[in-house]
């Protein structure tokens, strides 16, 4: 199996493999722009949902539910909550957008992180949320509308070359990637090969370069993917440090995680691996996530 190639870089590999075979639980986040956590959770409990709250965070794992899909409720249609894996929430928290910030979300659709950032910004400040694919942009638009998000501008363009006109305080590059970390959710997807990793790695570097161009001096950038391959993770972050002269900051967030990969094949990432965060499915029963924090 293809994941075998990660045996040496993923700690507790057998537990990892086991978690990858199991279906992924659902998590939700309460849209506090519309309703308080207490109110929504007690309404859903009254309908028969059971939750485990992740302490200290607006994140609830669904233990059991009376419907087939976690979005099959009136509360969901009212925009009171969003179904989002816990691991996918973390990049937004690490970027930590504040109410007055100007934020660019370069590859934003369908908006899991855009909508969380709008929530952290209390619908103030500005988010420019971009994507290339029209159908995914439509999904982003309908999520924004459902959740009542009013501080966001949607743009369509290739974020490698697009001119976003303004400079941003903070940028999220949640990059297109091979998605190995979400295979639990979509087990029918095909495992990517080396060529795909290399192609994506170059795409990600080009996206990062344009992100860097649009970042204010001393602005911060979160680079994240939902994949395990170092070519799409540490390799891209090394490029930012070595070629774009960005400063790498340590990702501080209180969740079980592993540090980055120091060496992969003939590549060496000693200068970045201590700073980045890797979240694996067997740590918290989530999808996989890679997160790095960079500064211009």
């Amino acid at each position: 199996m293809k994941l075998e190639e990660y045996r040496d870089i993923i700690p507790n590999f057998e537990a990892f493999l086991e978690a990858m075979q199991k279906p992924q639980p659902y998590w939700i986040r309460v849209n506090t722009l519309k309703i308080s956590e207490e109110k929504l959770i007690s309404r859903l409990r009254a309908k028969g949902f059971r939750f485990d709250k992740f302490e200290g965070m607006n994140a609830y794992r669904i233990v059991s539910m009376p419907v087939k899909h976690p979005g099959a409720t009136i509360e969901h249609s009212m925009g009171y909550y969003y179904v989002q894996d816990l691991a996918s929430m973390i990049p937004a928290y690490v970027l930590n957008p504040r109410p007055g910030d100007k934020v660019l979300d370069m590859a934003a659709a369908p908006g899991s992180k855009t909508t969380l950032m709008a929530q952290l910004m209390e619908n103030r400040g500005t988010i420019v949320a971009n994507d290339t694919r029209p159908n995914r942009l439509r999904a982003l638009g309908s999520n924004i509308e459902r959740l009542g998000i009013t501080n966001t501008v949607l743009t369509k363009g290739d974020a490698r070359t697009k001119k976003f006109v303004i400079y941003f305080d903070k940028i999220l590059l949640d990059a297109p990637c091979s998605g190995e970390g979400v295979f639990r959710k979509n087990p029918k997807d095909k495992m990517p090969g080396l060529r795909e990793h290399l192609y994506l790695s170059n795409l990600q570097k080009a996206l990062l370069k344009n992100a860097w161009r649009h970042l204010k001096e001393r602005g911060t950038l979160v680079y994240s993917t939902c994949t395990f391959n170092p070519l799409e993770n540490e390799e891209v972050v090394s490029y930012a440090v070595d070629k774009l002269n960005m400063e790498i900051l340590k990702v501080e967030f209180d969740v079980p995680h592993c540090k980055g990969v120091a060496r992969w094949r003939d590549r060496e990432y000693e200068h970045v691996h201590e700073y980045v965060m890797r979240i694996y499915p067997h740590l918290l029963d989530t999808g996989g996530m890679f997160i790095a924090l960079l500064k211009k």
């Binding site: 519309k34 109110k39 309908k47 028969g48 009376p66 419907v67 087939k68 099959a72 409720t73 009136i74 249609s77 009212m78 925009g79 100007k102 619908n123 103030r124 400040g125 500005t126 988010i127 420019v128 942009l137 638009g141 309908s142 924004i144 509308e145 459902r146 009542g148 998000i149 009013t150 501080n151 966001t152 501008v153 949607l154 743009t155 369509k156 363009g157 976003f164 006109v165 303004i166």
Partner: protein
């Protein structure tokens, strides 16, 4: 899509629904061919240069009259003090399902905000005492939902 700023639409929500001015001041309004959009983001961004596809969320559709959208009423509707129709939970389900409801409009006429004790459901219109739900089909609950 070209968007141009026109804040006269702010007054519509103040006059029609009694939403406080300081709430409405959070938004700037932009006209485009597809309606009027409410945006609470920074006022100093030149959206025309940014080539925006969508700005904030649609607040009004413009035809003969202005028609508020369910999506935007769900954002500001709980501040409304007039032209509000209050439903019980049974009636609320009917309104969500697009069923007309008699005897709830009183003397109201024209566009109203449909609310329950806890929720803003969206836009309706009162005509001769009957509430006609304007809540878009995409927000209709499926039979299997709870």
């Amino acid at each position: 899509m070209p968007y141009s700023k026109n804040n006269v639409y702010r007054d519509y929500f103040v006059r029609r629904f009694g939403i406080p001015v300081d709430i409405m001041d959070n938004y700037e309004f932009y006209e485009s061919t597809s309606g009027v959009w409410a945006f609470s983001g920074a006022k100093d961004i030149d959206l025309s240069k940014l080539d925006a596809e969508v700005v904030g969320i649609r607040a009004l559709r413009v035809s003969k009259a202005l028609k508020p959208t369910t999506a935007f009423l769900r954002v500001v509707g709980h501040y409304a003090t007039k032209n509000v129709v209050q439903l019980n939970s049974e009636q609320a389900l009917e309104a969500l399902n697009g069923i007309d409801i008699e005897g709830v409009c009183g003397s109201l006429h024209g566009y109203v905000i449909i609310r329950t004790e806890h929720d803003v459901l969206g836009c309706g219109v009162c005509r001769e005492g009957t509430l006609i739900s304007q809540i878009p089909k995409k927000y209709r609950p499926d039979k299997t939902w709870l």
